[in-house]
Amino acid sequence: MSDIADRVKKIVVEHLGVEEEKVTENASFIDDLGADSLDTVELVMAFEEEFGIEIPDDAAETIQTFGDAVKFISEAS
């Protein structure tokens, strides 16, 4: 797994309080990992902080799964 994926996974585990094994490629933050809409806002903020990027609101809305996040951040960094 890439360095970016590891770092994203660490943030997701910390913020959502879920087990690492559950954070799979297609795991949806809301449907599978127990996040609500406020949690997803905070997650995106944490990604911005960790990777020094800005994720516009319309882009943030497309980040639904762990895989989406890794893909977006890989392309943006």
């Binding site: 913020h15 406020l38 905070e42 903020m45």
Partner: protein
């Protein structure tokens, strides 16, 4: 006014304002007249206390706190939470955190770590005290009817002060995009009531009192009224506060309200009625009670700690932080509570004073002396703030609990550090030692900035 109308209200939960019950005309002044007519009404729903919960500077837990209180322990010490080096006051009564053993407060026992991160400490304390109280009461709704008949009213004087301060700094330094989505719901005062309702499914009235240092007493009194009026059968009520932060201490220092001269021994700083007092000592924590309609409690075989029989409220209309010299506002609140209770003031055995360790202590003492009159020599009054410090919005709630335990165990907790009383009185102020005595009726006073006063009277239920 036609109070026979209350019979329809006593027949069951209707939520309909009884004709003639309100409003009072201005000429009637206060609730006096109202209370006298109300007292002894056989149709009034009775409210009893069936659960207790507390996080205090002495301990997490009601019994752990109570035993330390009776033993004369102080919760005061140097501030450890942050560097207090810039402040005029470097000490406070902090909640002892730990792994949960020996009365320490372990947040993980009450909220998941990921949830703790999203709320200010006052919500954490409130949730913990609520959990203790609900578990103690044994009340858990079984169906939708039970859920909609159970409400929550847990307030706070200030709310998420630390969160607001931290977020303001963050906003200033990093800009608006760094503000957490949990900032607002983690700082709002009514979010203890909201969180408790969500955790337990309590769908009844959901409310939160904000009356500075009267908050806890007002919450219990108002919640009791909701039960009396039939809006709910069970209310989870109390107050919580977490003001021990640099901005909180700085703010109260600026008001000249805090003790500043006891850095050498903070346990001696809170000394109500003593000549050498120099301000209050900040505390933190939460107190929550479960209030329940009497028949409802009997029907489920609940443990009944006592009955809320009187509640009085008043405003000073005088000054933003100081009481008037005779504190007639406090006297009116107490008299209204006595009238509502349908007792003589002389029947009061124990008074838990507001007694913050400020100049206002002797003013309150005078008001209580006028209230009880010739019975002063039979009254014991203490200030437990001498031990816990001042928990602001939680104070009235933990002190109501101390009153209940005083009735249960027939012992009045002491006023610590009362070495040289500033006023002569026939009232026993329980200096430096608990007083074992008969206690059937208790009065708890709470007064807040803005000139807001609340008095609660409770009675032992003999079974």
């Amino acid at each position: 006014m036609g109070f026979t109308a209350f019979s329809i209200f006593g027949d069951g939960p209707g939520g309909v304002m009884p004709p003639g019950a309100a409003p009072l005309s201005p000429s009637q002044g206060a609730v006096y007249h109202f209370g006298k007519e109300m007292s002894g009404d056989k149709h009034m729903r009775r409210v009893v206390v069936t659960g207790l919960g507390m996080v205090s500077p002495l301990a997490s837990g009601v019994e752990a706190t109570w035993s330390k209180l009776l033993a004369g322990e102080s919760g005061a010490g140097p501030i450890t939470r942050f560097d207090a080096g810039r402040l005029a006051t470097g000490y406070a009564c902090e909640v002892p955190r730990g792994d949960g053993s020996n009365g320490t407060f372990n947040p993980d026992d009450f909220m998941e770590p990921k949830e703790q991160r999203k709320v200010d400490d006052f919500i954490l304390y409130g949730m913990a005290a609520a959990q203790q109280a609900v578990e103690d009461s044994g009340w858990m709704p079984k169906d939708e009817e039970d859920r909609v008949r159970t409400g929550v009213m847990i307030g706070s004087g200030i709310g998420g002060l630390q969160s607001i301060a931290d977020t303001a700094v963050l906003l200033h330094e990093r800009g608006p995009r760094r503000v957490s989505p949990f900032f607002i719901p983690g700082a709002l005062i009514n979010l203890i009531s909201g969180q408790v309702s969500i955790r337990y499914g309590f769908k009844g009235p959901n409310h939160a009192v904000v009356t500075a240092c009267s908050t806890g007493a007002h919450a219990i009194g108002d919640a009791a009224r909701l039960i009396q009026w039939g809006d709910a059968d069970v209310m989870i009520a109390g107050g919580a506060e977490s003001p021990i932060s640099e901005i909180g201490i700085a703010g109260f220092n600026a008001c000249k309200a805090l003790s500043t001269g006891r850095g050498d021994d903070p346990t001696k700083a809170s000394r109500p009625w003593d000549k050498d007092r120099d301000g209050f000592v900040m505390g933190e924590g939460a107190g929550v009670v479960v209030l329940e309609e009497y028949e409802h409690a009997l029907a489920r075989g609940a443990k009944i700690y006592g009955e809320v029989i009187g509640y009085g409220l008043s405003g000073d209309a005088h000054h933003i932080t100081a009481p008037p010299p005779n504190h007639e506002g406090a006297e009116r609140a107490m008299k209204a509570a006595v009238a509502r209770a349908g007792i003589d003031a002389g029947e009061i055995d124990y008074v838990n004073a507001h007694g913050t360790s400020t100049m206002a202590d002797t003013i309150e003492l005078g008001a209580v002396e006028r209230l009880v009159g010739d019975a002063a020599g039979k009254v014991t009054m203490s200030s437990t703030k001498s031990s816990t410090g001042h928990l602001l919005g939680a104070a009235g709630a933990i002190e109501a609990i101390f009153c209940i335990l005083a009735m249960r165990d027939q012992v009045a907790p002491p006023t610590l550090n009362l070495d040289n009383p500033d006023a002569e009185t026939k009232i026993d102020l329980a200096p430096n030692a608990k007083v074992e005595r008969e206690i059937d009726v208790v009065l708890s006073n709470s007064f807040g900035f803005g000139g807001t006063n609340a008095a609660l009277i409770m009675r032992r239920v003999k079974t």
